[in-house]
Symmetry: C2
Subunit: 326 residues, 2 copies
Amino acid sequence: MNRQTWLAGVDVGGTTIKLAILTEEGSFIEKWEIPTNTAENGHYIPGDIAAALKDRLASHQEEFSVLKGIGVGAPGFIEADTGFVYQAVNIGWQNYPLSERLGRETGVPVYANNDANLAAAGEMWKGAGKGAPNMLAVTLGTGVGGGLIAEGRILQGAYGMAGEIGHITSIPSGGSPCNCGKTGCLETVSSATGIVRLAMEKVHHGESEGLKALFDDTGTLSAKDVFDEAEKGDAGAEAVVEEAMYHLGLAVGNLANSLNPNVIVIGGGVSRAGEKLLRVLRRHFDRFALPKIAAETTFEIAELGNDAGVLGAAWLAREKTGRYSS
Amino acid sequence: MNRQTWLAGVDVGGTTIKLAILTEEGSFIEKWEIPTNTAENGHYIPGDIAAALKDRLASHQEEFSVLKGIGVGAPGFIEADTGFVYQAVNIGWQNYPLSERLGRETGVPVYANNDANLAAAGEMWKGAGKGAPNMLAVTLGTGVGGGLIAEGRILQGAYGMAGEIGHITSIPSGGSPCNCGKTGCLETVSSATGIVRLAMEKVHHGESEGLKALFDDTGTLSAKDVFDEAEKGDAGAEAVVEEAMYHLGLAVGNLANSLNPNVIVIGGGVSRAGEKLLRVLRRHFDRFALPKIAAETTFEIAELGNDAGVLGAAWLAREKTGRYSS
């Protein structure tokens, strides 16, 4: 086996850490998960990652030295150049030198970035954005995450906060409170959480027979339920889909006027609605984007699911080591 | 004189072409204007630019060979890599190989870009954004132009259309028509034209004594008049300033949440209102930006005026030639 020809991708989440070992071309050699130990503000995590990688490399008769680089994503504000985590609330890290610690444990160069940025990079490298140098990735999950790629590079911004598109203000006054401290953010209306909240209002006000029947039956509602009921013609569900996609179309249309992406990739749990979602979103987007932008921009549903993060992390390691070594 | 140590910056507008010859450090050696000859769809412009540069270089006993590169800005959609102009309506160019033509006339490498992008780059290099790698530049003139700088590079987008922030939709339904074919664009309310339009409505509806008196007296109103009257406490003028800056603050706040700039630079004729403008804009921005973004982002009034374009053009030539030659 040649030295330094593999990459590791790590995606640190609040409950599990996803790991992968890949070839330089991005083919999976190994892919697995370990639990996230958030004890002592995440102090043990670099050691856990190093032990997991070492163990799995050993099963291939390999050591850390086979790794060209390790990419790591985490949910929070991360300084890309240094891999310093300002804050990652769900993990416990605050002013935490992530790259330095994991580098010390492994002896391998470590590159860190925000997890939503790396999921976007993963989709650019191996997924729905393949080949597009300018990409806007939107993750519709518990919140609304974003990753912006320009000329094949992740946009970081001044403090690693670029891509926080979930906090675009969609409802300037009278909107619902958001975790960020503002009100009316995009994620209060277009995330899975936001869509279910709007749907539950319809149920409570007796404005959706379909959603009420589903909720009475199962005790729960998902964003996908709302898209499915809308497709069947339920007026309440249709109104929720319209509202959520109107705000997303306006926000993404305005971003597209400013950034001119080749492709907009929609991921996260809500994106399981697939074409049902894209059709409505596209209609609103086309009203708000400049005519030439509307004509040239394509929409895709994300393809990589939970693999996007580790692939993006591996891409980052590949990009960074490519610049500094042969 | 050493060979290839000067730069030329050219800013092609609908009525005049601004030219400058500068040192590599960006000090002006010469700065002048010639009229824009839009005959035959702008066919004569490269020849006019070449003749003007040659003539002025000769007055320094120099020839084209002293130029390391020529940067050119023009109002329109331009492919940065090739200097190919898709369309520049005011000039007459359509599918026009600008860099190639001017390169053939001069024998000097030519690099072209959108004029608003280059004005932003000029402010980054020598003006209000000095030293800021991540910058959002907004030009409030006849329209609303924009230039986005990320990590010291101009964001181009897929088809050179990035930065078209004037066409962010501010009024999603019932807004005024915009030249772009949409309605309710930011530039319909926050440009000089938009502010004067809103002010004239106040005059016609008898809602601003101050603006009516000014208009009756002079037969005209400027955006600066509106800010001045608002400062004096005229309720109608105050309402116009609030409306224009509310929409600008919302649009720029949302962009800042997505791009995380170090600094937002406000230029164009409207920016002559200075602190009067920034104070109101900042109040709205702070409502819509994420708390950390609001705390960290600074605002500045553009400093370079009409020189921004030629300085940005020279910066572009410097950047591009710096990569390919010593």
